[in-house]
Amino acid sequence: MTDNINDQPEGRVPARVIGTPPSNGPILGDEIVHEAKGVPGVIPADPAVAKRAERIVALLFTITFLAGAAFIASYVIFQVGTIDRTAASNYALGSSLSIALLSLAAGIVVWVRQIMPKYNLVQERHPMASEADTKEYVEETFLQGANESGFVKHKMLRRTLLLAAAPLGLAPLVLLKDMGPLPGTALRHTVWGTPTKDGKPRRLVVEGTGQPIRAADFNSPGGILSVIPEGYEEDLNALAKATLILLKFRPDEIKSGTNLNWTHDGIVAYSKICTHVGCPAALYEQTTHHILCPCHQSTFDAADGAKVIFGPAARPLPQLPIAIDSEGYLVAKSDFNVPVGPSFWERGDAEAEAREQKA
């Protein structure tokens, strides 16, 4: 039936279906016609095509040479040191390198496709499994060796060897112990509970400037500050637990979840460390009093004890008891009464314990 196609005009018969492999690949029946001329399965390239391809390849290789030279020249010519000069150097080096690589790659591809022959070579596969007699030989040898070694017969030898291996196997793990101290109760405290050198309560200072905060100056409702403990401005370990957000409310805005004894004149301090996995809950929406953690979008109601209103965090942001000192600056009355930050195995329901203690 195929010969009937011949009476169709060339190109009118789509012998292909979209999505099927191209018919000009090396595996095709049609091409095998050339096979007889040389080595079977090796279809030499058309000499005319190869000749033209050679010129193209040579051109591409020359471009690589020039681009490679340009790369080296760019290294010498373009110095870094300012943002603009770095950018210029980056573009010069990068584009010359890209051109060199891509041009070389293109050259080799043309070489392979148009100068090298097409192949339709066949190689036999063999089952991966060994021959039966090989297996048998290996098994016999294994048994023979095992018996010769005496490992099977001498029970004491076998058991003491295992015994000997056990502590040596553990040794590397034991050695890792000094990578860090034991947690102890470190996660339960922050530096807010540590009094200053002269025994006074610790002041709240603005993150970045280090300025202490006079309660009377932080007086516009809706205001928010990122606050850190005085004396620990550069101690990242301390900041990772002790950073606060300080908010100013009108008295009527504060709801029952917030502990009023721990506020001062509508100023409330919450831990900034999200109770989900510890990102700083840094976004605040004034109109709704929502604190949002940008990492996983846990949302807390700042007016209502920072209770969770959306997202994966399971607990409110702990509130820090604050007051003012004799000079009118905000200070911490004590440490948080619950551990701040993400949950951990030993934490337990610290909030419930705190409530019990109060009652």
């Binding site: 943002i83 150097s89 080096l93 090298m116 990102c279 940008p294 979008q297 994966p312």
Partner: protein, 543 residues
């Protein structure tokens, strides 16, 4: 050229006299590699890895993995005078004070993304074509290990520059580790040398990132290559290709040259990206402090699905006997990753158990020809995809003006519904494509030629499919089904008597049943109108 040049023959004789290289080369120089575009996907990952080793070595010449505090005094004016870790300062120096440093840094980062992306698409190719089947299960497991390690490698590398963004990733890692029951706090204190962030984690991650994991990766990649070489590559079905042969081009010279070209091509494209597509501009983020974060913090793409699952999770937490299990951290951090990785690792063995197929397979399946496998694969892609998409829900919310919480709530449902839908859709598409194949074989393809019959009827002439296409389609293999029917005495076979046995039998039947067997019936079919000239008997109504 009729004789080998002296330079080559001298060296090769020297080597052969000492290590007998000749017999190895005799067997392997003309090793046949089959050709298909999808076989190049894994090579992208391989060549990206080589680029990572080269550029990474360059970066270590200047990078200082120290959390010691310095005052920045380099060329980037906006940060001059700012206190920062030595790691961040040296990363800035690489970017602004070392010629080509920025380029190599960006190439390193892009190559890392392409490395993992390459592994992922390669793995999908292997999965969908069933190339993981016996005897290649070991190589598949090595591949799963490689992907897991690569994720860890990416995570440790991402944390090294110690900028504000990388610190956010590190903080999340710490928060998740803390949540691990029983040992979480201990592990965290060991890793960070005490409380977060401490002064040790960068130098420890550095050792892990440049020595430990690359070393293991290198060993596993070598094993991956050796196994591929020994077992010979799978091939797509086609003319002259059987389970017992490999048809294609020889290693020397063609495949060698092509591989070299593809290495250069991969490198070239990554270099283009590194030049023109800015990535991880650490100088904009500033030094890390646990007190700050920038909105819209996004991890590299391969961590996005974990980010998404953390975002989707409702706030579940269990407190009992003074201990806490934070499900809202543990479930999203461990379960999706666990499902995907364990599922991938076990799939070859589960499939073998279901089909009872213990044969060696060397021709790849076309994805449509194993519709359940393909549908399961798409379920996985959909599961991963929903999580990945929701990892950027803040960006989606901001750019498309959708409420943030609505995206999350949508995701909480979508994570169950979309994969189920994907299964159904992928399955139906497979069956549809199989029908198309069957039609091509039995009816031929449309020729575009309309004929008028003597009775006035117009028909389109069909013509048999080209030989290569027909052979490609005929490569469809039957999927074995385990014996489950009762024998003459009404007793089911031994394996099918237990509940698990019955489940297995059922699964096997569902998995293996061919709903669209290929029909090679020429001519005698009512719908067929093959051949242009033979309108004397064949072409009746029926179109």
């Amino acid at each position: 050229m009729d004789t080998t040049p002296k330079a080559i023959s001298g060296v090769s004789t020297f080597l052969d006299d000492r290590i007998g290289a000749g017999s190895f080369l005799k067997r392997n120089m003309r090793k046949i590699f089959p050709d298909h575009w999808s076989f190049l996907l894994g090579e992208i990952a391989l060549y990206s890895f080589i680029i990572l080793l080269l550029t990474g070595t360059f970066l270590t010449f200047w990078f200082k993995p120290s959390m010691g505090e310095v005052v920045y005094s380099g060329s980037y004016q906006p940060l001059v005078g700012v206190k920062m870790s030595e790691a961040y300062a040296s990363a800035l120096n690489i970017s602004f004070d070392v010629r080509g440093g920025l380029l190599i840094r960006q190439i390193h980062h892009w190559a890392a993304l392409l490395f993992i992306a390459g592994m992922m698409v390669h793995m999908l190719r292997v999965f969908f074509t069933g190339a993981y089947r016996k005897p290649r299960e070991l190589n598949w497991l090595i591949g799963v290990g490689l992907l897991s390690l690569a994720l860890l490698e990416g995570l440790t590398g991402y944390s090294l520059p110690d900028d504000l963004l990388s610190g956010a990733g590190l903080r999340i890692t710490e928060g998740v580790m803390l949540g691990i029951p029983v040992v979480g706090t201990y592990l965290t204190f060991l890793l960070f040398g005490g409380e977060y962030p401490g002064h040790d984690v960068i130098s420890r991650f550095f050792t892990i990132h440049i020595l430990l994991i690359p070393g293991i990766l290198l060993a596993l990649i070598s094993a991956h290559m050796v196994l591929m070489w020994v077992q010979k590559h799978t091939q797509m079905p086609g003319t002259g290709r059987t389970e017992k042969n490999v048809v294609g081009a020889p290693f020397y010279p063609t495949f060698m040259a092509k591989a070299g070209a593809f290495t250069l091509f991969t490198f070239g494209v990554i270099a283009l990206l590194g030049t023109f597509a800015q990535i991880n501009p650490i100088w904009l983020f500033g030094p890390y402090t646990p007190a700050d974060i920038s909105a819209g913090s996004q991890p590299d793409f391969y961590m996005g699905f974990l980010e998404g699952s953390l975002r989707l999770m409702p706030s579940w937490e269990i407190n009992f006997l003074d201990h806490t299990v934070s499900l809202s951290v543990l479930i999203p951090a461990l379960v999706p990753l666990g499902i995907v990785m364990t599922g991938l690792a076990l799939y070859p063995f589960i499939e073998q158990w279901v089909t009872g197929d213990r044969r060696e397979h060397h021709t790849a399946d076309r994805p449509r020809n194993n519709p359940h496998r393909t549908a399961i694969g798409f379920t996985g892609i959909a599961f991963y995809g929903v999580l990945w998409l929701l990892g950027a829900n803040d960006e989606i919310s901001a750019n498309f003006h959708i409420s943030l919480y609505e995206t999350t709530i949508f995701g909480r449902f979508a994570i169950f519904l979309v994969p189920a839908l994907a299964y159904f859709v992928a399955y139906r598409i497979c069956i549809g494509l199989q029908r198309k194949d069957a039609e091509v074989l039995s009816h031929g393809v449309e020729s575009g030629v309309i004929k008028r019959l003597p009775n006035g009827e117009y028909i389109e002439v069909h013509t048999p499919a080209a030989q290569d296409i027909a052979d490609h389609i005929r490569g469809k293999k039957e999927i074995p089904i385990i014996e489950s029917g009762v024998d003459g005495d009404g007793i089911p076979p031994k394996g099918a008597r237990t509940a698990i046995g019955r489940l297995r039998a059922k699964a096997s039947e569902a998995y293996g049943t061919d709903h669209v067997p290929l029909d090679e019936g020429h001519g005698h079919d009512e719908h067929a109108a093959i051949g242009a000239g033979d309108h004397s008997d064949g072409h009746r109504d029926g179109h």
